[in-house]
């Protein structure tokens, strides 16, 4: 556990101290590789991940899954970045060190059980990410950075407020019975009074669920949803995203789309877990589905007719974040395992599957766009034609990424989106069903209409660039670097492989994470069987559901 | 083998003679009907007209001649008359001609008959187009246009017959089987007969759809398509046109006269007489009417379709009631 958190720190120092840029880049890759090695090790030797559930830090299945994805993405990005090798105007030391710091803080986010720690780590991640956007320098990059910084800070401040509200909910005094509905009254009766304050770890909050003040929990959830939602980029809180993605180098944008946003998502999920425990799943789900649908819709509207492919990518990220919260929302609405279908179609599982493939696909697509940007030196789609002819391999990777991100089979997102639709059907959420289908279709049409012309057509005339080797004035000199091709193709192949053949241990990991997001009975163990006959009592979970042992 | 299971309606005791007589009778009759029309028209025109056997003489003359082929043509041009006539001859085996039953009918043969006509038309049109002549192209275009419009009418008529008799074999759909239908939905049957008559006029390129005797190629339909054929090819075409008239006429006669059993020699003679009468009728129409303007022809054919559609409605309604 500690090893995982600290493994990157020496490399941060190395990045700052080493004299040549080559060595610094090597140390970046080494840092990411070391981190990934520890992660892999933690899957094989669980002792590396396990910590006492009550403590501040522990890798539960959810966090473990997320940190693995983030680590994988960072490793690929770091390798890609070595090849990307652009003239770095911002001090490269700081830049590389910030990447590693970002990794470290995101690791902390995933490992944090205490919500305060989670917040601190998220804020740290924001701050570490800021210099990464300001890569290209110039007024537009600056604006993007400023916007990112300010909006994220405000968002994260709201998140803090939400966490405080959650804290307030734990200080509820024993309320007068008359103001209570049957549920809370009974719960209150059974709960022990006068204990010391409840800790702010997720586990503690879930265990203390009957004693939590529901109104404050709800307020907390809303604040966290809006606050961390800003960081995650849910519409209408997404406005920093297009700017940031258009200005940051594509591999860095990949880190944002597949890594940083996951951290914020995890923050929301933690509070969502508490909501589930206090029986507020439907409430939380409602807002999550609303934000999810709105995000997909807004993304679709802004994708159509957009002429800036990197901004379009930003909006696809908004779209996928929307899909993620929508899926989790459906999980809270009661889309549990159906008797007919088994666990592999539950919305929570779909959300985890979508998370997995979102990270992989974002890597593929942004790396491919990295190639394209290097070749054409323009963000405008109208300047980019015939990438497939200019650079067949990058073109194929780009098309692959495009298909993957628009959820065409055989790519994994197809399965997750189908499972979401299935969940909506099973829970009879017809509005959500129609809304989801229509909005993702709008996004599909928008993305394909805008981006396909980039790959096809007669190649457009390339801008003459000052090649580093002098002789070759075309951009073809750079992309042959295998360090760029390797991670891009590797991510594509991995995404494809996991879509076509999902090994058992991946399935198990996804299920373990999904189980944490499935509504569980509230303290069934503590309530006498006779009292549970109240009609509005949170019911017991379906058979086969893992209870508390599902996590940690 | 399926062939063995075929219902071949031959007179049981023997007899090749009867069969030969039937086949020869049917094959030799068509030119005579053309002669009847010609004679009628001559009579109306106050002329004597050509001899009764003139069509036979023409055919013999054509067969004795060689053939002239334009250098623009290909084998398609030569295949046209042959395929057309072969299709008609094949259709002859499924239409009740001399007698109540067809020779080689089977369930669903009515569709084959209709499509054999279409096959013949297709090859006639292709042969015409093969010459590269604008006139023949014009004729072909008109031919396919009017055929397209008469096709639904034909099928609707057949549907009426099928519904009223509950049968899908052409000879079973006609004749005495129709008596009940004439009894219960007489008006519908009248409409069918009317529509069939219009179809006959169209298919055989008679007035008011087409004027076979006009000398202005610009207004012709069928005749202009066969301008370039000569010798045996043209003989095939001429004979085919007459055979088509006989076949459709026989169909019409069988549909219109449900009381007749068409059995034996009297039946054969009656059939001959009925066809002669039909030819006479056509001759009278040709003598008393002018050819319609081309765009009025579509109206006529649409009318036939409507008539037959109405007949379908009547029959179906009768069945429901």
């Amino acid at each position: 556990m500690i090893l995982l958190l600290t493994v990157t720190l020496p490399f941060v120092l190395l990045c700052l101290l080493l004299p040549t840029s080559r060595l610094r880049r090597v140390s970046l890759v080494a840092g990411c590789a070391a981190h990934f090695a520890v992660i892999l090790g933690s899957w094989i030797y669980p002792v590396l991940a396990v910590a006492n559930p009550g403590t501040l830090l522990a890798l539960d299945p959810l966090g473990h899954l997320f940190v693995t994805l983030i680590s994988l993405l960072f490793l690929a990005t770091s390798i890609f970045f070595v090849g990307y090798h652009q003239k770095v105007l911002v001090s490269q030391r700081v830049f590389l060190a910030c990447m590693l710091l970002l990794l470290a803080s995101l690791t902390l986010v995933c490992a944090a059980q205490h919500l305060g720690v989670l917040w601190v780590a998220l804020e740290a991640a924001s701050l570490a990410a800021t210099p990464l956007i300001y890569f290209r320098l110039g007024p537009r990059a600056l604006e993007a950075t400023w916007k990112f910084l300010l909006m994220n800070s405000v968002g994260i401040a709201l998140g803090l407020l939400g966490i405080f509200c959650l804290g307030l909910s734990t200080t509820a005094p024993a309320p007068a019975a008359t103001t209570l509905s049957a549920t809370t009254a009974e719960v209150a009766e059974t709960a022990p009074h006068g204990e010391e304050g409840i800790g702010m770890t997720v586990t503690a909050l879930r265990e203390a669920a009957p004693r939590l003040d529901i109104a404050w929990v709800r307020a907390a959830f809303l604040l966290v949803l809006v606050g961390f939602g800003t960081k995650m980029g849910l519409a209408p809180l997404h406005s920093w995203k297009p700017d940031a993605y258009a200005e940051a180098p594509p591999p860095i944008a990949a880190l944002f789309a597949g890594g940083v946003t996951l951290g914020a998502f995890l923050g929301i999920l933690r509070v969502f877990q508490v909501c589930l425990a206090v029986g507020q799943g439907p409430f939380a789900s409602l807002w999550m589905t609303a934000f999810g649908l709105l995000s997909i819709l807004v993304a679709g509207i802004f994708i159509i007719g957009n002429n800036d492919y990197r901004r379009i990518l930003a909006y696809t990220s908004v779209e996928h974040m929307g899909i993620l919260v929508l899926a989790v929302g459906l999980a809270g609405l009661g889309g549990t395992q159906s008797s007919v279908l088994g666990a592999q179609s539950s919305p929570a599982y779909a959300a985890m599957l979508h998370t997995l493939h979102n990270t992989l696909n974002k890597g593929v697509l942004f790396f491919a766009v990295g190639f394209i940007w290097r070749i054409y030196k323009s963000n405008r789609i109208s300047d980019v034609k015939g990438a497939l002819h200019h650079h067949p391999i990058a073109g194929v990777i780009f098309l692959g990424g495009l298909c993957a991100t628009t959820a065409l089979p055989p790519f994994g997102m197809f399965y997750s989106e189908f499972a979401i639709i299935l969940a909506a059907v099973q829970t009879h959420q017809w509005f959500i069903l129609i809304g989801f289908i229509v909005t993702i279709t709008i996004c599909f049409v928008g993305v394909m209409t805008a981006m396909l012309p980039m790959a096809f057509g007669a190649p457009s005339v390339l801008p003459v660039t000052e090649g580093s080797d002098g002789a070759s004035s075309s951009s073809f000199g750079h992309w042959r670097e295998p360090t760029m091709l390797l991670p891009a193709a590797g991510m594509l192949i991995l995404a494809l492989a996991l879509s076509l053949y999902q090994p058992d241990y991946v399935t198990r990991a996804l299920h373990a994470a999904a189980d944490q997001l499935t509504p569980v009975p509230v303290q069934t163990a503590e309530i006498p069987a006779g009292v549970t006959t109240a009609p509005d009592r949170p019911n017991t979970a379906p058979a086969g559901d893992h209870l508390e042992e599902g996590h940690l | 083998m399926n062939l063995l299971a075929m219902t071949i309606h031959l007179p049981v005791p023997g007899v090749a003679a009867v069969v030969t007589a039937q086949v020869l009778g049917v094959l030799l009759l068509p030119p005579l009907l053309m002669s009847v029309i010609a004679k009628t028209k001559a009579w109306f025109g106050g002329r004597d007209g050509p001899p009764w056997l003139q069509p036979y003489f023409d055919l013999l003359k054509l067969f004795r001649k060689g053939a002239v082929y334009s250098h623009t043509t290909t084998w398609v041009f030569r295949a046209g008359p042959i395929v057309s006539l072969a299709a008609l001859l094949t259709a002859t085996t499924m239409i009740p001609v001399l007698g109540p039953n067809s020779w080689l009918g089977f369930k669903g043969d009515l569709i084959l008959v209709a499509y054999l006509f279409a096959l013949g038309r297709m090859f006639t049109v292709l042969a015409a187009m093969d010459t590269g002549s604008a006139f023949e192209g014009m004729g072909s275009a008109r031919e396919v246009t009017f055929a397209t419009m008469s096709e639904p009418a034909l099928f609707l008529c057949l549907a009426v017959l099928a519904i009223s008799t509950g049968n899908l074999q052409l000879d079973d759909m006609l004749g005495t089987n129709l008596a009940g239908a004439w009894h219960s939905v007489g008006p519908a049957m009248l409409l069918v007969v009317g529509a069939l008559f219009i179809i006959l006029l169209t298919e055989c390129s008679r007035i008011p759809v087409d004027d076979p005797l006009t000398h202005l190629e610009l207004t012709m339909i069928h005749e202009v398509m066969v301008l370039d054929h000569s010798g045996p090819d043209f003989a095939y075409i001429t004979y085919g046109a007459a055979l088509k008239f006989t076949l459709l006429g026989s169909l019409l006669v069988h549909a219109a006269m449900p009381q007749v059993a068409w059995v034996g020699l009297p039946g054969a003679l009656l059939w001959l007489a009925a066809l002669m009468a039909l030819a006479l009728l056509v001759g009278i129409i040709e003598s008393t009417m002018a050819r319609l303007r081309l765009n009025r022809v579509s109206l006529l054919l649409a009318g036939a379709t409507v008539l037959s559609g109405l007949a379908v409605l009547l029959v179906l309604f009768n069945k429901l009631a």
Partner: protein, 230 residues
């Protein structure tokens, strides 16, 4: 700790705490009214000082003066009262810009809107039921209004540095809110939060510095060229 907070607070201390909270409110309004950036920053610094005293008051209200409160106060004083204003003032000095010119919302207008926000905050918190007993009934309304006024500054000013101040005021509001659950957050986290705020401001100051370099002053109006194509 919970038990400590539920202990009745002496009247005199109560008055002092309430007075401090009202002072915070007034400082908010003053920040809205001032056009000089330096003044604004100093006002903020003073507000932080007032706020950092509050945990001590809360701690003295309980049976024992918690080490918790002292650490928190110390951290706040060092970071917010001295370090952050110092950085910001330095940026202003090098930036050679002193005033907020032509904000989106005029200064008088800002004060009026700010007052309305305070009213709203009080109205809202009258409907809130705080679990447990806070150190003062004013705490929550003041926290909310500070938060809202921070947002208002953030939104209505062009100058990047004022936006930083706005953000800090917002943060102060949250801090005040957090005082109501002093016990639930371990010290480590509280300090981490403070540190994060500090680093955040530090980074912001750097960015502001860059903005100055790019545009020769810190006006965010120069940012944001047309983005989404029609």
């Amino acid at each position: 700790m919970l038990a400590a907070l539920t202990h009745p607070i002496p009247d005199s201390l109560h008055t002092a705490i309430d007075g401090a909270l009202v002072l915070v409110l007034l400082l908010n309004l003053a920040m809205l009214a001032t056009s000089r950036l330096a003044t604004c920053i100093r006002l903020f610094s003073f507000q932080c000082l007032v706020i950092s005293v509050l945990p001590i008051a809360a701690a003295t209200a309980s049976d024992a003066i918690g080490i918790h409160g002292f650490f928190l106060m110390g951290g706040t004083v060092v970071l917010k009262v001295f370090l952050i204003p110092f950085i910001l003032l330095r940026v202003i000095r090098t930036g050679d810009i002193q005033r907020e010119v032509q904000p989106y919302l005029g200064f008088t207008g800002s004060v009026v809107v700010g007052a309305m926000m305070i009213g709203g905050a009080f109205a809202l918190s009258s409907r809130l039921v705080l679990p447990g007993q806070a150190m003062s009934t004013l705490l929550i309304p003041v926290a909310i209004s500070t938060l809202l006024i921070g947002l208002l500054i953030l939104v209505s000013r062009y100058k990047a540095i004022t936006q930083v101040v706005g953000y800090l005021v917002l943060e102060n509001g949250i801090y005040l809110f957090g005082l109501s659950l002093l016990h639930a957050m371990p010290l480590l986290v509280e300090l981490g939060i403070l540190l994060d705020v500090f680093v955040g401001v530090f980074v912001m100051a750097i960015v502001v510095y860059h903005i100055r370099q790019e545009f020769d002053h810190m006006d965010t109006q120069n940012l944001a060229p047309m983005k989404e194509p029609a």
